[in-house]
Symmetry: C2
Subunit: 500 residues, 2 copies
């Protein structure tokens, strides 16, 4: 093997992995969109086989030899190739520590857990889901131990979604955010409430779909490469490479705002993915670097852009065109106030910007304590409800609206939640940097996000997974990450909407 | 390896192949249904990689050893296992003769050909497609030579879609059919024409979709396992096993009959597939035995059931409910006559029952002569047009409505067309057998096809690919196949509709 052959093999290997991910991603996507009701078994069988095949290829002695060969010749590789080898070796070394039987059993557990969680949520019956969830947490702990016994297991989980993240950082971050949010919430509770009746009424799915495509175009998505489908829970996925991206939404006939912001949120993910440099297609560097940077983009478009006064002004004429009866006598300003209403609530995905991080803190606390052995899975519902009372001041009526609301745990995504809160905070600091060279509000008002997108593409999107999150942050921010930007952003928004 | 281990490995190997077929089938399905416009590249890359992976697994020395081991111990296998080994060994021995590079290049050619054919058809520009088509025919000839040099290449192609079929059989079959059809057409041309205005008007896609689901339920499909989507060209596919089946249709706003019979036709394929015995799931015996038996089922439901007077009577009240304005003053009898109108036309998929086989004969003639070296690909359009004039008496205005109309050749499906005509003829003889124990018309009138479906399931569907087409035919028919049943069926239909 010479170095040029090895470089070619490296690219071929990644294309192969991308093909398996394409297949598995599409089987999952199909299950959430068009598949007939009783066809999960076929998908489970195929996913389990394909993931086993991919595991074999990814950890084969041939693969390891190739990567070791290249790793030893890192000085003959360019920056991208070096990063590919580093990331793949890291993955392999972790994967190799997991016995294949356990890995496959875990994939099967997740397929089962997904079905059971759906049923449990439907019936608001945590006990039904509890044994599965116990196994998921146990497996995660065990895998963390295999992967890096020197690390605390929960730090390992955090690190999976955000390279370099640990509990120390999270604790400091959440402390700061909480101490910024709590006084804001107190002020809001003493101010007059916001009227959000504009969002409620009767909005046909057909018209909401038209709105969704309008929003996708408005934020700058290329519809030749980004599709829109309907699912129970909105999500975004790449199929094969960033040239084929799918977002999904869920329409509620009585409230158009839910789907509207789902589309802009998932659209933000899709902008990030499709903004990868073309040279990264079919490699491990394609798409976003980490979940929190990903969320920084999705929530940047959803909240910072999408919930701005300028954006509400921009889209209001379209709303009037689509829903003439419902928008009669309404104004863009009413829309702006409605979509920025702050109110402690039960469901994370429907939370406003200010209380959102509190929802995350509940989940972070619970995961941390389970991993520390201070909390048992069976006691999750009671602790969940206690923390919602303590952090948000509200009573949880049942587990469907409480501990069973999120899909993450049934999907094995433990350690994921902090990404959302971090993403929010990164986004606020990115905005401040962006404003040094881009007149963001003017762009939005003009309905032309090219300059905004160009800034994000140049600074964030095009790099894909080339840098670590910390490296990327430091390049973009030109200094340290500081959650104060986020607190300041929220404070200004609250002042504008509530006058306090 | 002992025999029990080997049997288990045989099942595991087939599950693995089924998973790859699931993935590839779904990528193809996605490309025809929900995929954004410019995402074909990703699918091409992934399909080429996955097909190469599947080829490697299917022809690996481990696989060959396993199958040879089992083949040598055939007397220790049950009937199903023996058939699995036979079929898989046959496939492998043929595949092994094709150099892998050529196999992969051919897959890539087909991906390219599909895109080029679409463009050529759009532009009615055969020259654009000609070089691709030449390569496809050349490759087919070459592969036929690799696979079985003792066979005539075109016989090899016919045999691929219908085990045991050859030109001698086809020639005799088509001669008989043609000599039955020509006098019928002459009689019709002298009779008063049928008024088919009932099918034309304005029919919303939404209502046509409602009709489609009604028809799917009426013919007995289980919607928990069979999905419906919209595509340019209708088709049916299984994903993973017969427990997940998808059919597609295409709605024309001005003519509800097109989609209606597409749904019943594809629904017939889906009935056959989903009727496989459960023990056959994830094996090579799952689904139908051959294309012609498959077409015998799809066209049985489309024509013999769907175009019967009893069926028109059954569904007419539903049509009246869905399209009250369009059906005002119309009758079930008008529908029956309209959907049985006979008229030589340009497009195979829209042809009536009587002229349908003539469309097939044109294609059969052309393929046969290309393989015999008597016709060059570049001369196809002229010969196509000449034969349409000779067989159907009509002038072809352009290649879009002529030689470029079908997707088969761009998909490498050479030798497929005769299946359609054979399927028609098998279906007519099956009907005669079925009538010995089932009052078919009474079932249809009552809207309860259980007895009809049970007969098909017991005699045909449940066996999957356990028997050869010839074995299955002889079991079902209790005697030799005779196209006279088909001629008699058509003659009776023409007499009923045209009174001649």
């Amino acid at each position: 093997m010479n170095i040029e052959e090895a470089k070619n093999s490296l690219m071929a290997l990644q294309r192969k992995m991308a093909a398996y991910e394409h297949a598995m991603g599409l089987i999952y996507f199909d299950g959430s969109t068009g598949a007939p009701r009783k066809t999960a078994e076929n998908r489970g069988v195929s996913l389990s086989i394909l993931s086993e095949e991919m595991y074999r290829i990814g950890t084969s002695s041939e693969t390891v030899e190739l990567l070791d060969f290249l790793d030893e010749r890192a000085n003959e590789l360019d920056e991208k190739q070096r990063r590919m080898v580093t990331l793949m070796l890291k993955d392999i070394r972790e994967m190799q520590k997991i016995p294949m039987g356990e890995y496959v059993a875990y994939q099967e557990l997740l397929v089962r857990a997904d079905a059971i969680w759906h049923e449990a949520k439907e019936k608001s019956d945590f006990e039904l889901f509890c044994p599965c969830l116990e196994q998921i947490f146990e497996t995660q702990k065990r895998f963390a131990g295999y992967a890096d016994p020197s690390k605390k297991p929960y730090d390992y989980c955090l690190n999976k979604y955000e390279e370099g993240l640990n509990m120390e950082t999270c604790d400091a971050f959440f402390d700061k955010v909480r101490s910024g949010i709590v006084p804001l919430l107190k002020k809001i509770s003493e101010a007059p409430q916001v009227d959000d009746s504009i969002r409620f009424g009767s909005f046909s799915e057909e018209k909401q779909r038209e709105l969704a495509y309008y929003l996708m175009k408005t934020i700058g998505l290329d519809l030749d490469h980004v599709g829109l489908s309907t699912t129970e829970h909105p999500f975004t996925t790449s199929l094969g490479s960033h040239h084929d991206e799918r977002i999904t939404t869920h329409y509620f006939e009585n409230d158009f705002v839910c789907s509207m912001y789902s589309v802009v949120h998932e659209g933000g993910h899709a902008l990030y993915d499709t903004g990868s440099d073309d040279s990264l297609a079919y490699t491990v560097l394609d798409g976003g670097v980490s979940m929190s940077i990903h969320e920084s983009q999705s929530r940047f478009y959803e909240n910072i852009i999408g919930r701005s006064r300028a954006f509400c002004n921009l889209i209001f004429p379209k709303l009037r065109e689509l829903f003439p009866d419902e928008m009669k006598g309404r104004s863009a300003e009413e829309l702006y106030r409605a979509v920025n209403k702050v109110e402690p609530s039960l469901i994370r995905t429907e939370a406003d910007e200010v209380t959102y991080s509190l929802h995350i803190m509940v989940r972070y606390e619970l995961e941390k304590r389970i991993f520390a052995g201070e909390l048992e899975v069976k006691d999750l519902p009671a602790e969940w409800n206690r923390l919602y009372k303590e952090y948000l001041g509200i009573d949880v009526p049942d587990d469907k609206h409480g501990v069973l609301q999120d899909t993450h745990w049934s999907g094995g995504m433990v350690g994921y939640f902090p990404s959302y809160a971090l993403g929010n905070a990164y986004g606020a600091q990115f905005l401040s940097r962006m404003r040094e060279s881009v007149d963001v509000d003017k762009c939005i008002e003009a309905g032309d996000l090219d300059a905004v997108n160009a800034w994000n593409r140049e600074n964030i999107w095009k790099h894909g997974h080339l840098y670590t999150p910390a490296q990327l942050l430091s390049r973009v921010l030109g200094g340290a990450f500081d959650p104060q930007y986020y607190i300041d952003y929220l404070t200004a928004k609250v002042k504008d909407v509530y006058g306090v």
